[in-house]
Amino acid sequence: MHLAGQFVRRILQGVVVVLITTFLIFSILRIVPGDPVRLIVGGMAPDNLVEEIAQKMGLRDPIPVQFGRYLSQVVQGDLGNSYQRPKNGMMGQGGDFNANMDVEMAEVSDLILERLPYTLQLAGLALLISLIISFPLGISAGLKPKGFISKIAFFISSVFVSIPNFWLGIVLALFITIKLGLLPSIGYQNFAYTILPAIVLAVETCPFIIRTISVSFAEISQEYFIKSGKVRGLTRNGVIYRHTLRNASIPLLNLLGIQLSTLLGGVIVVEYIFDYPGLGQLTIYAVLQRDFPLIQGIAMVTSALYVGLNIAVDLITYSIDPRLES
């Protein structure tokens, strides 16, 4: 098997996808109303000053020119500096104009790298919890599609899929943190702060994983090469572990790739509720402040993560089932 050629081809395609996403975000930010310069200099500043600064920042150039300039920076590894966040972490006050023009602004890459580990930790834990719940339920439901466990799995999935995440987040914070005092929930000081938001996210992803596992297990179990394992003289467990699980894992891997990408990019609501310092929360503030470089940086990083994860998933599935590689 020569995955190297595939790999190179997919990476090139991925770069194109990331470029297109970035360009879309870049253009839309500049087309929709909301001038970042006004927010930088403050509401009291005269219009001609706003215009002067905008000219200086290059924001009045045609969009393709601005994008070219941005790209040439990005290629050199520079995602630009935030419009709003100074390096020392102090936010400027909106009222006094020109207040933060002299302050050195934080680099977008630093801002993202600072938040990324928290998001990774949250996404990882959420996925782990949902796998722990889904695997036993999904597999036993898939092996006996008419059995009791299958009904339980269906029940749990239906309940989980109907719970709104903001409601669950608030309820958990209320009961577990405030009433029972078991786990902390607002902000971040240590690992314990990750657990409650992770549970909320896990409840969201569980139904999809349970469904995928049980359906693909049930389907693969009907394949002749599984059913004939018995008459070939293989043991039942051997067939399940070595063959059913392996074949059923392909749709599961595809789903996990998508779920993990979503968890990394957009857990905005949950991070907001728990005031969790991840990428999602950073995104919200960046958008509210029209912080163009930061929004672009986040979009680029998350789309690169998305593309990378899906390439990885495809390569893993190719190595499991060589027929897929064509």
Partner: protein
């Protein structure tokens, strides 16, 4: 000699309907015997096989009787004992579904090794077991087994998978091998190779075999004794010779009567002396396939190579060949569903190669294609009348009433009741559906109909009925048929002239009687020697049966592509390997190299 297996009064019951699906079956099997079981689909031969290996579908249960294996009652054994000692160990099973028998995500070798390890329970090192697997793959004549060991099931052909499954069964050195319909999905040439292999293996490994099939001629070739089954019970059992020469029961007599005759029945076709209605000159078609081993590179599969033929008005032309020889590509090229890379096509004196749209639209009316699969080639959500009228809706300006009238008259012509006009195809049989396909093709009053394996999914009786329908319609409408098929018995009955295709080329073209009696090409002979028939076959299998599989279509060069399998070439190592048809007798064309090796 003692009995290896004795089945006493065995009946099987369906739990949900409480019908008996197998009734009072009794027989004895001696060691080293090969017992043949013959029955149509639904006669219970598969259920009998599955009962013997203790692998019945969940809804079936043994309602009476007993299976004794080596003097032990199977019903007294626990499931644990059956799993550890019997199933897949002492009694091995091979089924018809070889191509789906192994996990597509592991190499074939790894899965055979998995079974070997599972049986061996860790007494022997993996390396020794691997050598055992490879030597067995060699025994079943899989070429370069060390390399094939690492290939995946999707890289194996149907015949090779069946061989691999035979290895799978032999790994445990079983006392009894149950081979259920194993030749069913295979080409006749490959099936004949498998039968030959089973006999060799029986002698080598001293295995007792139960061999079931729906084809009496195939079972006759291998079995010592025969059981004829019908509707779940035994109609007759005796030695193979006795049953075929002196059948007792009515059912057996009928079975023998319905088995296609090839040489013992006279055929009589009129000489067709008309002008060609369709001329194909130098058709070739290659497909580009991405080479997975290199970055961004392709290799060529040559599906059809330099194909030329004249089709005469009113004749039945047969084009035969093994699967993968390019027959279906050819039918798509002739019907202009795909463009050929080279060559010209002339219809009724008009050259169609310039792609003139009006000409092609007319041509599509005049030439119709009827496909193999009557289930997927018809839309299931349209009424029968709507399906048949499709062509008129596209090609004619007739009013709704006129169209309906025409559809109804065509329906009665092909033997469909007019009441079916507003019904759907749900639950209709294969032959009924093929009648609908025929009506759909006939409605445009075509001149030529291509029948691409149209009859191969139907059983013997249905085939006969449709063949007589074809000849009735032909007499009425002066139609020309091109039968594309792998079924030599069917072609023998229905075609004036026959072209034999191998690796995308015609290797021989002759009148029916000349081809069957005095064929000129060694490949034609190997095809003819494998026809399952009760007749005396003038071509001796021991001399003419070829080994191996067709060569890789990406690797064929300019010399004779049959070289690698040609029995003549192997024996003599000389003779021309040039290609190109030459006429050795009026109307009898043979590939150049075949003329030299043919005699």
């Amino acid at each position: 000699m003692s009995n290896l297996l004795s089945v006493e009064d065995l009946s099987l019951k369906d739990r949900s309907t409480s019908n008996n699906v197998l009734r009072n079956v009794s027989f004895n099997l001696r060691e080293k015997e090969i017992l043949g079981v013959v029955g149509e689909s639904g006669s219970g031969k598969t259920l009998l096989s599955q009962a013997i290996v203790n692998w019945l579908p969940e809804n079936l249960v043994i309602s009476s009787g007993e299976i004794n294996f080596l003097g032990k009652k199977m019903s007294a054994m626990s499931e644990n004992e059956l799993e550890k000692e019997i199933r897949g160990k002492e009694i091995a099973y091979i089924g018809p579904n070889a191509i789906n028998s192994l996990d597509p995500t592991y190499s074939v070798g790894a899965q055979l090794l998995e079974k070997a390890v599972s049986i061996d329970k860790g007494n022997t090192s993996k390396e020794i077991l691997k050598q055992k697997v490879i030597s067995l793959l060699d025994d079943v004549l899989i070429p370069s087994p060390e390399k094939r060991f690492y290939e995946y099931p999707s890289q194996y052909s149907g015949g090779m998978m069946q061989r691999a499954m035979i290895v799978d069964a032999l790994l445990s050195s079983p006392k009894l091998l149950v081979a259920d319909n194993i030749t069913m999905p295979l080409d006749v040439t490959v099936a004949a190779q498998i039968i030959k292999l089973m006999r060799v293996l029986r002698d080598k490994f001293n295995t007792t075999i139960i061999f079931s099939s729906s084809s009496l001629p195939i079972v006759r070739e291998i079995s010592d004794n025969l059981i004829i089954m019908k509707n779940g019970s035994i109609e007759e059992q005796n030695s193979t010779n006795e049953i075929t020469s002196n059948p007792k029961s009515e059912h057996t007599k009928e079975l023998i009567k319905n088995t296609p005759k090839i040489w013992s029945e006279n055929i009589n076709f009129q000489n067709i002396e008309t002008k060609p209605i369709l001329s194909i000159k130098n058709f070739s078609k290659s497909y580009k396939v991405r080479d997975k081993n290199k970055f961004n590179s392709f290799y060529e599969v040559k599906a059809v190579r330099d194909f030329s033929i004249d089709v005469y008005e009113g004749e039945n032309l047969g084009i035969i060949g093994e699967s993968g020889c390019g027959k279906s590509t050819l039918s798509r090229l002739i019907s202009l569903l795909e463009r050929s890379d080279t060559g010209t096509i002339t219809f009724n004196g008009e050259d169609l190669s310039d792609l003139n749209k009006d000409k092609i639209k007319n041509f599509r009316q005049s030439l119709q294609l009827i496909l193999q699969d009557p289930y997927n080639s018809l839309p299931s959500r349209q009424t029968i009348g709507r399906i048949i009228s499709e062509g008129l809706l596209i090609h004619s300006q007739l009013s709704k009433m006129e169209i309906k009238e025409k559809v109804l008259s065509i329906m009665s012509e092909v033997g469909i009741d007019q009441n079916e006009y507003n019904k759907l195809l749900v639950g209709k049989s294969g032959s009924f559906r093929q009648r609908v396909s025929i009506a759909r093709a006939l409605i445009l009053e075509p001149k030529v109909i291509i029948l691409d394996e149209t009859l191969s999914s139907l059983d013997q009786k249905e085939q006969e009925m449709l063949l007589s329908l074809f000849s009735d319609i032909q007499a009425k409408r002066n139609l020309t048929y091109i039968f594309i098929s792998h079924d030599l018995a069917m072609v023998r009955k229905s075609c004036n002239r026959i072209a034999v295709m191998y690796m995308g080329r015609i290797v021989e073209l002759a009148k029916n009687e000349i081809l069957f009696d005095k064929c000129g090409h060694p490949y034609t002979r190997t095809l003819l020697c494998t026809i399952p028939t009760l007749d005396k076959n003038p071509y001796d299998k021991n001399l003419y049966l070829m080994d191996g599989e067709p060569p890789d279509p990406t690797e064929i060069g300019t010399e004779c592509s049959f070289k690698s399998r040609c029995p003549h070439f192997k024996n003599n190592k000389k003779g021309s390997t040039d290609m190109g048809l030459i006429e050795i007798q009026s109307g009898h064309w043979v590939d150049k190299c075949g003329v030299d090796c043919g005699r």
